[in-house]
Amino acid sequence: MKINFKSRKDKCKEKVKLLEKENEKLKGIIQELSILNDIAVAISSTLSLEKIINLIVDKCIKHFEVEQGAIMLVEEKAKMDQPALYTMVRRIDQTNYIMPFRLNEQLIGWMLKNTKPLIINDFSTNQYFQNTDSSRFVIHSLLAVPLVTKNKMIGVLALFNKKNKKGFTDGDQRLLSIIATESTQVIENARLYKQEQEFKRIKEELRMAFKIQRDLLPKELPKIKNYEISAINIPARSVSGDYYDFEKDNNLVHFCLGDVSGKGMPAALLAANLQATLRGQVLLNPSITDTLKNTNYILYNNTSPEKFATLFYGVLDSIKNELKYSNAGHNPPFFVQTNKKKIKRLEKGGMILGIMEDSEYEEDTVFFEKGDIVLIYSDGISEAMNEKEEEFGEENIERFISKVTDKSAKEIAETLLEEVKKFVGKTPQSDDMTIIAIKRIN
C-alpha cells in the first residue's frame, strides 16, 4: 500500500510539473503574442518612420531583456557600380553607448550577403565577427535578423547583450524573425511615405519656381502702331532656360530672346540672371553693341566658364520702320520680306555670351515694309526631334514661314508650334521652345 501511495504521489508530482511546464510555455506564448500585438497596435497608429522604428526597438529591448537594440536601414547609393551600395541611416540606442563602427559595418555586410538570422553568444570563437573595437561598449552577445520585402533586404533588426548570462536562444531568434516579418512592410511603407513627402516638397518648390519665372516674362506684349507682336515659351521641364523680354519706350520696342545652356532649374536661374543683367544695361541706354558687350562681360565674370547663353537682341522703331539688332551666337532669325519675296537671316553680332571675357559685337539694321515678318526661335524648335531622331531643322522653318506670310503674327507663332508638335509626334519634348513673331501690318 505504501509503495502504491508513493507511486501515486510521484505521479501527482509529475503531473504538476508537467502542468507547470505547460503553464510556463503558455505564459511564454502569451508574452510573445502580447509583444506582437503591442507592436502591431503601436505601428498602425503612426506614419512617421522615426516613431515606428523607435516603437519596435523599445518593445524589443524590453521583451528580450537586452542592453541595446537597433534598426539599421540600408539605402542604395546613386552610383550603381560602387561596391558599398548601402549606408546605415538609423540607429537607436537604449543607452549612451555607441555600437563599435567596425562591427556595425561587418554586420550589414554579412546580412547583405547571407540574408538570414544570426546569433552570436560567444565572440571569441566566431571567425567572421571580431569585436576588436576599442570603444567602451563591449558586446558579448548579438541577435540579428534581416528585414526583407519583395526579395530585397531593406535593413537589419539587431539586439545586443542579453541581460541573462545564457545569451540568445533559438526561441528568441524565432520570435524576432516574426517581429521582423511583421515590421518590414510597415517600415517600407513609412519610408516610401517619407520619400513621397520629400518629393511633394520639391515639386511644390518647382511649382513656385515656375510661377516666379512666369512672372518674370512680360505679362502682356507691347502694343505698337502698325505692328503685331506674338511670343510663346514652352519649357521642356517645369522651368525654362529660354526666355523672352519686351520693353516699350515710346516708338521703340526693345526685345530679346535668350537661351541659356542646359535645362531645368540651373538654366532657369541663369536665365533670370541674364534677364536682370540685360534689363540693367538697357536702362543705361548704351548702343546695342555695347549692351551685348557689357552683358557678356558681366555674365562671364559671374558664372563658371561652361555656362553660356545665346541671345538675340533687337530694337524696333515703329516710326522709322527699322529693326536694329545684334545676335550673340543665337540661331539666326528669319526676316521675311513678303513683297520682295526674299528671306534674310539675321546673323550679324558676335560670339555666344559668357565664354570669352572681351567679346566684341556688331549690329545691323533691316527695314520693314508692310507685310514683312521677323521670326525668332530657340533651338528647341529647330532641333526638335521625331521618333527617327531627325531634327525639325531650319529648312522646315524656312519652308513654313514662306507659306504663312498672309497670317497674323499670333497665327504664325501658334501654327509653327503646331507644325513642330506634329513633326515630333509622341517623342517627348527635350528642350525649351520659344518663338517670337513680329509683323508689320500697315
Binding site: D259, S261, G262, K263, P305, E306, F308, T310, A328, G329, H330, N331, P332, G349, G350, M351, I352, I355, M356, D379, E383, E389, S430, D431
Partner: protein, 113 residues
Amino acid sequence: MKIKEREKGNVVILDVSGKIVLGEDINSLKEKIDELLKAGKKNILLNLADVPYVDSTGLGEIIRAYVSTTKNGGKLKLLKISEKIKDLLVISKLITTFEKNIFEDEEEAVNSF
C-alpha cells in the same frame, strides 16, 4: 557617350563615340579632361569621328572642355567633326576661335601641337 584614351607622342587622343547630348554621362568628357590636366597632360586632341549627333548642350560640353584646357595652359583641338558640329560652331560664332584647331587628318593634327 564613350571615351577611349590613347597617346601619340606628347598628345593624348580621346576617341569619343556616341551622341553628345544632355543626359547622365554628359559630365564624363569634362571629368576626363580634368583628369588629364591634373596629370600634366596638356595637349589634347578630341576625335569626334564617331559622334553622330551633338545638340546645343553637347556643344556646351565641348566648349567646357576647351575653356578648362585653355585656362590650365593646355591646348585642345578637334578632329573630324561632323557637319552638324560645324553648323553649331558657325551659329554660335565660335568658329573663329576653333578654326585653326579643327583637323581632318590625325597625323597633321598631332604634328600641329
